[in-house]
């Protein structure tokens, strides 16, 4: 047991270290911006005095190391600084959007994960059958189609032609859960299809790999029923590869959110990010990136830890 705890602790520490380095990179990114931040906020024809004042106010005259620590401290308290374009507090901008993005991603994940795992396992068990081929072709198609194509096809079909769902998901905090879910269906669907194919293929590959192991053949030679072979023999060894697949796909999902939010004008962090990039509002971009990077690193960390915790060799060391 101790070995596992130590391994997990090591991995967690590594995760935290990674996060710190990532935050450093994001911070340095802003530092590399040519020109002066304060100047950028006030504009070209601001007076030098005003610029100097703003610099002092924003703490830009402090040494970089200090500023990094201040910024990091601020972030841990929920203070992300100010937008360059509007001067507003970023935390007020980002806060509600984080919830929206998580809602959208969660909605998509809730549909995609069980569906993909189920289809993947079935495709692996019945590989080279008609079912498998159809599923594979479908997956191939979905992977090759760019996200925005998918979104527009969905809009064209379900919104314009059939008129069921709205093509723009303008949700706000005061909507009921049902209403919110209804307006989120199209973007969630687009996300789901994009991630489903990817996850399903990886699951199929992992399970096929597993089913080729000698102990699976041994189980069949012992006369175990096909159900028993899958449930008793394959699944307990499938945790690690499946967790890996799910985590990678969720990470994929987090990034796919960006394009989808833009097309459906969904008020999430992704849309804010893209708008800010266009306006070169670096501080907002920095904060949005931090959110995405954090989620990504956390998901990978959880995946690794779960993989360690379900490894029989580590659970029962020599």
């Amino acid at each position: 047991m101790k070995t596992i705890l130590m391994l997990i602790a090591k991995r967690a520490a590594l995760g935290v270290a990674t996060l710190l380095v990532v935050s450093l990179i994001l911070f340095l990114g802003v530092e590399l911006l040519p020109g002066d931040v304060a100047q950028a906020i006030l504009g070209q024809d601001a007076s030098p005095d005003n610029v100097a004042n703003l610099r002092r106010e924003l703490g830009l005259d402090l040494p970089p190391a200090q500023r990094y620590l201040d910024w990091l401290g601020g972030v841990l308290h929920g203070d992300f600084g100010r937008s360059l374009a509007t001067g507003r507090e970023i935390s007020s901008l980002i806060g509600p959007r984080i919830l929206n993005t998580l809602f959208l991603a969660g909605f998509a994940a809730a549909i995609a994960v069980p569906l993909a795992l189920g289809l993947g396992v079935l495709a692996a068990v019945y590989r080279n059958s008609v079912f498998d081929r159809v599923v594979n072709i479908g997956a191939l198609g979905s992977i090759s189609i760019p996200e925005f194509f998918l979104c527009y096809v969905l809009i064209l079909w379900l919104s314009v032609n059939l008129g069921i769902f709205p093509s723009i998901s303008n949700i706000s905090a005061d909507l009921s859960l049902a209403e919110r879910a209804f307006r989120t269906v199209l973007p969630a669907l687009a996300l789901t299809i994009g991630v489903l194919a990817y996850m399903m293929r990886m699951t199929r590959a992992a399970i096929t790999n597993l089913l080729a192991r000698p102990y699976i053949q041994m189980a069949r030679l012992k006369g175990a029923s096909p159900g028993s072979v899958i449930v008793r023999h394959a699944l307990p060894n499938a945790f690690a590869p499946i967790i890996n697949v799910v985590a990678l796909s969720l990470a994929h999902l987090v990034v796919g959110v960006v394009v989808v939010e833009v097309i459906f004008v969904y008020p999430g962090v992704g849309q804010l990010l893209v708008d800010s990039v266009a306006r070169r509002d670096v501080t907002v971009v920095q904060s949005c990136s931090l959110f995405f990077a954090l989620t990504y690193v956390l998901l990978n960390l959880i995946a690794d830890i779960l993989a360690i915790a379900t490894n029989p060799r580590l659970l029962h060391p020599r």
Binding site: P214, A219, K222, G223, A224, H233, P312, H316, R318
Partner: protein
């Protein structure tokens, strides 16, 4: 031996043909085999790789591997036809009336469950026994099979148990429902010779106690001589010969059988040491450890004379391969030194000059991975000629032709890629590659272990001939005592990183022995069917 003459056969295979689907279409691998097995009888299936023995063994369970199928013939188990039978029927038989013991226990046990749960899976799953009953029986079975800690070992996981013990646990698992037939598929091939004796004993015990019939598949005639009532020789998917064990061993009818038996024929006379000559290679008090401080060689001292074959024998963990790595400079010793031709050799390979590297060459165990699959034979042989001897153009080509001749391959082999060669041919190319450098010492690391016995015999003959023609020394690392008896001038016995005994061949092979050498020598199966019984009697007599 429990033969019940006059009863109907338990297993009857008639005219069986098995087809395998390849990229180029279906290919038949078993061409009309007939096989009969009575209750309580043990039939040994013997043959080289590709003979179809595993395929036949699996066929006894009605099982065809993925990508293969029974294209013709019949398999009857106790009167029930297995070919074309629905999967449900076959499942009812497997585990219950017919069981299988695989070659690699480590790969065949599910890493996620402990041993006793895997034992109990079938009896409990079929409703034959309760969980408690099954576990109690498992412990009893482990005791019968002489496993240590029979009460507790079942609760361990496969990766926590050693190879020989795991194999016996698999045998126990196969016996869980007391089947009428067990198929043993090379159960001891992957084990050390001393461990093999334990497992062979276990198999004999269990089969006699429960009167189970068995198909014993192996490539080792001496092993099958101990276990089987009848022997069937297979080659390329056909039956070559079949008959009662003693008759087969004393008067084999077919040439192929005689060849297989002749593997233990007379050895080449040992070359006596030349007194007073400076040895070519001297290893003085060498100790070595891998990273982490775990010592694998303790104070090892050996010497190899010129034009001599020195065999290093040991089981897994003896350190013999590590010794080779120290000599070639891949593993620097922590203590001691190595002298080559009188002068000290730099401990690390990187510190050695090309001239040094040229003089010591190595041949590896697995010819499949020892040759670059993207280089033709010509290119493989060309490189050492270019690198060490700085030959070019026509001279180089002539040398390549001569090397091919030396290893008994036609000159057009030069154009081939390794995957167009057989295992034996590949190993010959490896030998040629080593010879191309014109070395003084060639280290052979288990060079025949991965080859079929007849092919291995050919390689050994080649090496001996080469030694006579060229003045090269061999350091022959192996676990196979039979080979050692045939080719070695001197023998070095190693155990757990130490040299236990060394000297001229006759000296080491004759008593008195170091206890480990005694154990090793006595564990090598002999062609005599009573060998195992006598060994067990002798050992229990000695300890009793």
């Amino acid at each position: 031996m429990n033969t019940n003459a006059g009863t109907a056969p338990l297993l009857e295979i008639a005219g069986l043909r098995v087809e395998v689907t390849t990229d180029d279409g279906p290919r038949e691998v078993v061409h009309g085999v007939d096989l009969t097995l009575r209750r309580g009888e043990i039939l040994g299936l013997i043959g080289e790789s590709g003979a179809g023995k595993s395929t036949l063994g699996l066929a006894a369970l009605g099982f065809a591997r993925d990508g293969s199928r029974f294209s013709a013939g019949s398999i009857r188990f106790d009167g029930q036809e297995l070919v074309g039978a629905p999967e449900r029927q076959l499942r009812a038989l497997r585990g219950l009336r017919v069981a299988y013991v695989a070659q690699s226990a480590a790969a065949s046990f599910n890493p996620a469950h402990n041993l006793i749960d895997q034992y109990a899976e079938i009896p409990v799953g079929r409703g034959l026994k309760s969980r408690r009953q099954a576990q109690a029986e498992a412990q009893e079975m482990y005791r019968t099979l002489l496993l240590p800690d029979p009460g507790g070992i079942g609760y361990r996981y496969p990766h926590q148990v050693s190879g020989g013990q795991l194999q016996r646990a698999m045998i126990a698992m196969a016996m869980a429902c007391q089947p009428e037939l067990i198929v043993f598929d090379e159960p001891t091939t992957a084990l050390d010779v001393t461990t093999q004796v334990e497992v062979l004993t276990a198999i004999k015990l269990i089969v006699e106690k429960f009167g189970t019939a068995a198909l014993y598949i192996t490539h080792d005639l001496a092993v099958v001589a101990q276990m089987a009532d009848r022997i069937m020789v297979l080659r390329h998917g056909r039956v070559v010969e079949e008959g009662e064990t003693r008759r087969m061993l004393s008067t084999p009818r077919e040439a192929y059988t005689r060849d297989l038996l002749g593997l233990r024929a007379a050895a080449r006379p040992a070359v006596p040491a030349e007194a007073g000559e400076e040895p070519l290679l001297r290893v003085d008090n060498v100790s070595a450890a891998y990273g982490g401080g775990f010592k694998i060689l303790h104070d090892v001292s050996i010497a190899v004379g010129r034009r001599r074959t020195v065999a290093v024998v040991g089981e897994s963990g003896s350190g013999k391969s590590s010794l080779a790595r120290v000599i070639t400079g891949l593993l620097p010793p922590s203590e001691g030194r190595i002298l080559f031709d009188g002068a000290p050799l730099p401990p690390r390979m990187r510190q050695r000059s090309r001239a040094h590297l040229k003089r010591i060459q190595m041949i590896y165990q697995s010819p499949d991975t020892a040759l670059n699959p993207r280089q033709r034979v010509n290119e493989i042989l060309m490189r050492p000629l270019e690198f060490y001897l700085r030959l070019n153009g026509r001279e180089r080509q002539e040398r390549i032709d001569r090397l091919l001749e030396m290893i008994e391959l036609d000159p057009d082999y030069g154009q081939r890629f390794p995957d167009e060669l057989s295992g034996g041919e590949k190993q010959r190319v490896c030998i040629a590659r080593a010879l191309a450098a014109e070395p003084d010492l060639i280290i052979c690391d288990e060079v025949t272990s991965a080859l079929d016995q007849l092919v291995a015999q050919g390689i050994l003959k080649l090496l001996q001939r080469l030694q006579d023609e060229l003045s090269v020394s061999f350091l022959f690392i192996t676990h196979d005592l039979v080979t050692v008896k045939a080719i070695a001038d001197e023998i070095i016995v190693m155990q757990n990183g130490r040299v236990v005994e060394q000297g001229a061949r006759e000296t080491v092979l004759a008593p008195p022995h170091h206890p480990y050498t005694e154990l090793l020598l006595s564990s090598v199966p002999q062609m005599d069917p009573d060998w195992l019984d006598r060994l067990l009697a002798a050992r229990s007599g000695a300890t009793g």
